[in-house]
């Protein structure tokens, strides 16, 4: 495309099949303790990747 650069390949819908295993880190255990910072958590589900 000439006018648009898409930054990510995977869309959220793609994560529905294997998602929700719950193995990823709880957001408040990383650094925050005062906010809810979920978007930066790594996925730990190999089937998802």
């Amino acid at each position: 495309m000439k006018h648009i650069v898409t930054l990510n390949e995977r869309v959220l819908e793609d994560t529905m099949e294997h998602g929700g295993c719950g193995e990823c880190q709880t957001s408040c255990q990383s650094a925050c303790k005062t906010s809810c910072t979920v978007g930066n958590q790594n996925c730990e589900n190999e089937a998802q990747k």
Partner: protein
């Protein structure tokens, strides 16, 4: 839903429901803003005056292609999917252990009420800590990775208990299929070589509290009695610890308040001191406190986030980048949509344990007796409260429905919502506005990185 914004020379279009992020040129930016409301003919007629007929048609076709590919103007299809999680068993996978309800600092903004959480000064015994691990293992279902954060007050004032809990956890790893990830949050005053070695051996992450510039840190993080500088004591210790961990798996973590709205200087001060993993976060305080962030502070705070993001982008290009926790977003391999809808898991997957073994939905609810959920001996007995937390998600919060940031903050912090609106499904408006700005800055950094 599509959210568009301009930041640092980039035009960014977020397709909220698919999570697709696009960097677009000016004609596309205008086409997207009118695509659903106006006819193709009208849009092309109007825009071709500025961009030329061929360019405008081409840009319009690219937008249509992305729409057909499910990356623009997508619908929110996840509510029935989330409903299917209702029948899953409830598991606990993370505990915040209040090792000490006591502290050797008296930080003015401490939500722990100077360490004691508005109660008695108290230390957790090893026995309570071990029972908490037993409770965690027994309630963790098929979760393999279990997280335990040693928190306070100041947990290093009670290291004997920490060590005994860790040792017990390592034993449990041998007799169960569980893996413990221990983390520690500390103010650093008691750090020494021995403790550093122990932390590096046992803690998968360590959070080191410091607010930034010396005068900012020492004003809000004084000693009892007010004499001396906590900054002078902790800075060299933190530098040594960060280096000993190869600048990974730690955060220097500060709080900014109404008193240092120019907090980008604090972040950059920490970066200039050599730290690579930095988190500086807005204070959460009663509106009546003089240091609380007010609505009128928001324009200046947004400017600070912009300034910080631009400087980070510049430093990254120069090969001296650093991570800022609130600008970290994984747009490709990040959390699945289920995680994004459910949020932090407080009151359900994530609980706090007080020194005497009581369970609360999270560390911020400790001290509020109405929020007590049970204890490590009998487990969660307030199942009605647990149910309330379990049902809380992006869809249970009215203010989130039309928000472009909902899949990044997952509906925000339940404790903040409760403290400001009296309802875990309410919202903390000032916090939401800052969160939205941070998402925009984070995506701008992703765009800058992609265009390097």
């Amino acid at each position: 839903m599509v959210h568009q914004f301009k930041n640092n020379g980039f035009n960014i279009a977020m397709d909220v429901n698919s999570g697709a992020i696009h960097v677009v040129d000016d004609p596309v930016y205008e086409i997207i803003s009118r695509y659903e409301a106006d006819s193709k003919e009208d849009i092309i007629n109007d825009l071709s005056k500025e961009y030329g007929l061929e360019e405008t048609k081409e840009a319009y076709d690219e937008v249509t292609l992305l729409k057909e590919d499910g990356k623009l103007f997508t619908k929110d299809i996840y509510m029935p999917y989330l409903k299917s999680f209702d029948s899953r068993p409830i598991v606990v996978k993370a505990l915040c252990m209040h090792i000490a309800h006591d502290c050797n600092l008296v930080c003015k903004y401490c939500f722990a009420g100077k360490g004691e959480y508005n109660g008695e000064r108290e230390m957790m015994s090893p026995e309570v800590g071990k029972k908490a691990l037993d409770f965690l293992v027994a309630n963790s279902g098929n979760r393999k990775h279990l997280e335990v954060d040693f928190f306070g007050g100041e947990p290093t004032m009670n290291m004997d208990t920490v060590k005994q809990i860790v040792e017990y956890g390592r034993q449990l790893e041998k007799t169960t299929d569980k893996i413990f990830r221990f983390t520690l949050t500390t103010n650093g005053l008691l750090l020494n070589d021995e403790l550093e070695e122990y932390i590096n051996k046992e803690m998968s992450n360590v959070v080191l509290s410091i607010d930034g510039r010396k005068e900012v840190n020492d004003f809000m993080r004084p000693f009892r009695g007010g004499n001396g500088s906590s900054y002078d004591i902790i800075l060299p210790k933190y530098k040594k610890l960060a280096e000993s961990r190869n600048q990974e798996n730690y955060y220097v973590r500060g709080t900014f308040t109404h008193n240092n709205i120019d907090f980008s200087k604090d972040v950059l001060h920490l970066a200039d001191e050599g730290f690579k993993q930095i988190s500086v976060e807005p204070v959460v305080a009663e509106p009546s406190e003089d240091y609380a962030i007010r609505e009128e502070d928001l324009p200046a705070i947004f400017e600070e986030y912009d300034k910080l993001a631009c400087e980070m982008s510049k430093r990254k290009k120069e090969g001296r980048g650093f991570n800022f926790f609130h600008f970290m977003i994984d747009i490709d391999g990040g959390p699945c949509v289920a995680k994004r809808l459910q949020g932090c898991g407080s009151g359900c997957e994530y609980l706090s344990v007080t020194p005497n073994g009581d369970l609360y939905p999270c560390h911020q609810f400790v001290g509020n007796e109405d929020m007590k959920m049970g204890d490590v001996d009998t487990g969660v007995t307030n199942t009605a409260l647990r149910s309330e937390f379990r049902k809380s998600n992006v869809y249970s919060k009215p203010a989130c429905q039309d928000c472009f940031a909902k899949f990044y903050c997952s509906g925000g912090c339940a404790a903040n919502a409760f403290n400001y609106s009296g309802d875990i499904n309410g919202n903390y408006k000032i916090g939401c506005e800052m969160q939205k700005k941070r998402v925009e800055c984070a995506l701008m950094l992703k765009a800058a990185e992609a265009m390097m």
